[in-house]
Subunit: 305 residues, 2 copies
């Protein structure tokens, strides 16, 4: 069943210890969509400028991604540049040019409105809420946010996530949002805010899923070489929602077997790990579903006892 | 089958966000032994001063720990004091009084020499080597080290670990010892130094076991409250060696099923998690084997998918 993804489509300038790229396709929506496209029908809602390259559009189209909701307006596409620390655990933003993204007002094509799955990339909470209100018959909706919205748009954010089924953030965001350092306590506080499923991304240490009274923890895949971690968290989100949509689970009807939510976390982890193997979206130019399923099985092998 | 443990028996002064204790039983050997004692016959080699309290000796004896190798000499017992950061991921040493530990020259009682399992706590590499050379018929020997020995006693350390079956260190030590940031590459380098099994402790993120051409990763148990992380890594070591000794595995004869090594890592993780629940060794005053096995099963529940 189809997934609607809202967020940024951008150009990124990235420098890691392995090299530097001035300008390449990026943005949360791009990464989530490429990742999700390996599992299910994927539709994006985003805005780009008139500089958006035909070859980048082709990459998305070649993955079967529905681009009806990709708005093209005069001006330049959102541009972000950053440099990673030597261990790649930190990054410094060098430039953020919102460009056409500054006036992004997501409008859903009619053909998107009955999609049962929705994932809201990290954008202004009010826009996330507006998108959710345009949808009918959702089986599962949730998304991401970041420190900026948690600190400066707290009331708006709380209004927004109240209706979400899941929240997918990293550990420092979970601590900031809940005011609790301990992640079990943080999860309990966040459940009171609305979402009944919390996925905490821990970067090179993996991820935790909290759902009602149980939790699941998975370590990250140990890569021999991390080329570029940009987009890994978004690819995680795409694998997570993609797998649940592929299976057609309805969280509202409580018909999801707990282990299936755990498997969605594994597919998320698998997609995040592939993302880091090359610069930007490059790994998705060659990645195949059999490779994904093989890595899923590797996760089983290195965690089972 | 019995395990010989060499290391420090000490008094610790510890301050965490949950409180402060001026003086309590501590030391690597103490924690490893208390942890191992739940699995197998445990013998310690250590030195204490004439201030070593009868009640502390009783705690060890009540756990069935063989104290023949616990030397008592005039003077004061090793004293260490430290304070933890608010998130307990860092600690600052306030005081290190070696006292009688400065002249520690471990001599094994005859009754220890044929024990098949040996674990060498974090002491000077030359002393670790001396102890190993006093043993006959080892099935499995290994131990711990730290940044100080890696930096300032590198040649001596390399001479020492060449004969070890396993090395059990944390991630920053593995990086320092190997000169590789990536842990897969670090493991490959360390294998060239001798040990064919490397266990990397990652604190609140769990542990990784590298063995020949495969690895196993486990996340740490999510406690609701970490009272005092002192000794957690040593309790991990005790659970790891304790389980292997309980099963009687002989790594030299290659008769250890891989999953059994993984299970030893789980028991290590279980013991490390219990250690953090109370100050110092306090959790071991009440801990029972059924509680340990129940938590082992919890690990299965939150990692299986």
């Amino acid at each position: 069943m189809s997934v609607v993804i809202v967020g940024s489509v951008a150009y990124d300038g990235v420098e890691t210890p392995h090299g530097r790229v001035e300008r390449m396709l990026g943005g949360a929506c791009t990464y989530i969509a490429l990742s999700s496209s390996y599992f299910t029908n994927t539709k994006i809602v985003a805005v780009v400028g008139d500089d958006f390259a035909a070859e980048d559009e082709k990459l998305l189209a070649d993955h079967g991604i529905d681009l009806q909701g990709l708005e093209r307006v005069p001006g330049k596409t959102f541009y972000w540049a950053g440099v990673y620390s030597p261990d790649m655990n930190d990054r410094t933003t060098l430039r953020t040019d919102l460009n056409v993204f500054a006036n992004f007002d997501p409008k859903l094509p009619d053909s998107y409105r009955k999609s049962p799955y929705l994932i809201l990339g990290n954008i202004q909470p009010a826009l996330q809420r507006s998108v959710r209100s345009q949808m009918n018959g959702l089986k599962l909706a949730g998304g991401d946010t970041m420190n900026y919205w948690i600190n400066d748009y707290r009331a708006e954010l709380l209004d927004t996530i109240r209706d979400w089924d899941f929240l997918l953030i990293n550990d420092s965001e979970a601590r900031l949002l809940s005011g609790e350092y301990n992640l079990r306590r943080a999860a309990a506080k966040i459940f009171e805010m609305g979402p009944k499923t919390l996925v905490i991304k821990r970067g090179e240490y993996g991820a935790i899923l909290f759902h009602r009274d149980w939790h699941f923890i998975v370590p990250a895949y140990l890569l021999e070489e991390v080329f570029d971690p940009t987009g890994a968290g978004d690819c995680f989100a795409g694998g997570f929602i993609g797998y649940l949509a592929e299976k057609g689970f309805d969280l509202h009807k409580d018909q999801v077997e707990p282990k299936e939510l755990s498997r969605a976390v594994i597919y998320g982890s698998v997609m995040g790990s592939f993302c880091c193997e090359k610069f930007g979206v490059d790994r998705f130019r060659t990645l195949t579903r059999p490779e994904i399923d093989a890595r899923f099985n590797e996760f089983r092998a290195f965690t089972e006892f």
